[in-house]
């Protein structure tokens, strides 16, 4: 059911709309539903709610409608919407913020492969400091259990020596330090 639920962050209570504002720094109340963000979005045909509808749902505090939507997971962060919005609403940042809130509240991602990709990427950074693509791909394959997808392309890329076969570890300690500090601060 859709309700304007109260959410706890840092011992304060916020409504869903205010939470989006507090975490992402965006005030969706400026949106006057002109529809321009939906018109220019290259992924709108894949989404269940258009970006305009998603912003409307956030305005109304319809947390469940937003969380159950696939829209933010199918946003490619191309920033066309944020660039064109006549009201300067950073729609792409709203998409990111909703994804972050879903993870913080340990709710389900409606398009799991997208979240799995981000997680594999960050895990890889913790290990190596820089992205080690082969390692990340291997981990992503384990997370998604989809080993055959893109196999032919991967082999072609290997033949062209596109990948480094071994990872470097430059700066990995530094990255681990930053990431664990970030986690600490976000829990505080």
């Amino acid at each position: 059911m859709n309700t304007d639920e109260v959410i706890q962050i840092k011992e304060k209570s916020f409504s869903f709309t205010d939470t989006v504002a507090a975490v992402g720094g965006i005030d969706v109340s400026f949106c006057y539903q002109c529809g321009k963000c939906a018109t220019g979005c290259p992924l709108v045909h894949e989404m269940d709610l258009t970006p305009t509808q998603l912003i409307h749902a956030v305005q109304l505090g319809l947390k469940d409608t937003v969380y159950n939507s696939k829209t933010m997971w199918l946003c490619a962060s191309c920033l066309t919407c944020s660039t064109r919005c006549p009201q300067k609403v950073d729609i792409a940042e709203v998409m990111d913020t909703v994804k972050i809130l879903i993870q913080r509240e340990k709710k389900k991602a409606t398009v799991p492969s997208v979240l799995k990709f981000s997680k594999s990427f960050i895990d890889n950074l913790k290990l190596f400091g820089r992205l080690y693509e082969l390692g990340m791909i291997a981990e992503l394959k384990l997370r998604t259990l989809n080993f055959t997808q893109d196999l032919a392309m991967g082999i072609k890329m290997l033949k062209k020596h596109k990948f480094n076969l071994f990872p470097g570890i430059s700066g990995s300690r530094e990255v681990r330090k930053i990431l664990s500090q970030v986690r600490k601060q976000e829990k505080a």
């Binding site: 490619a76 972050i100 799995k116 981000s118 400091g129 992205l131 392309m153 890329m157 700066g171 601060q185």
Partner: protein, 291 residues
Amino acid sequence: MKYAYYPGCSLHSTGKEFDSSLKAVCNAMDIDLVEINKWVCCGSTAAHNVSRLMATALPMANLMLLQDMNLNEVIVPCAECFSKFKIAQHNVKTDKKLKREVIKAIHNDCNEDAKIIHPLSIFSEEPLLSTIPTLVKRDLSGLKVACYYGCLLTRPPEVTEFDIAEYPVTMDNVLRAAGISTVDWSHKTICCGASFALSKPDIVVNLSHNIIEDAKSAGADAIAVACPMCHANLDTRQDDMEKKFGTHPQMPILYFTQLMGYSFDISPAILMLNKHLTDAESLFEQISQHV
């Protein structure tokens, strides 16, 4: 001219040819690139999905490394990294609370005035724009190229401070200075599917196919890019496009620096023209006349 250089992860692996061709072109123009020691990943397409603080802290940690080099201008060729650096710097300048958190997270101050530069910006300005034609040794005027800028160089314009967001011309100007013809077309800044490369490849195949088809109908022989992710999506997905749409696009996808380098007569081995999955070498066979 001397700049700090942040190659980013892709230019050390799947985008090696961008790194190698950029260095060669800069060398020809007397630009000294000093790679930042111990740079780390900028967070790229993943960090912003997970944490705003993480996505801001990683680029800012890299910018602080500039201070040890006594340089405050950094060349960032990968459009994805460029965007992440610009956005992070913009965010700490405009959000004081976030800035405090970043300082805590990286145990260091924030370098708010480091100048983050995309190579296209300096190539398209004087004195380099006038230097380019003096270095041209091969006549590539028979080649028609569609310049693809993608999403992240131009958007949002108040943050990236790069050209006109809806119809950029910087890369066109640079390639034209190198004697290459560029076409007018409508997909210059339309998304290729970006980071869905591995998580939702079906989306990438569709969007990238639209881009290639539009370049074709504008009469382009090749597409020039400035982003390793755009390159990967447009280049490596052409077999999948054939499976889905029936014909293989056979569209060579090149970094703009490879095209510049070829016109400067830099060797194909240094430019790594053989690295692409879709053949790009035969493109030059017919037209590579020396001037």
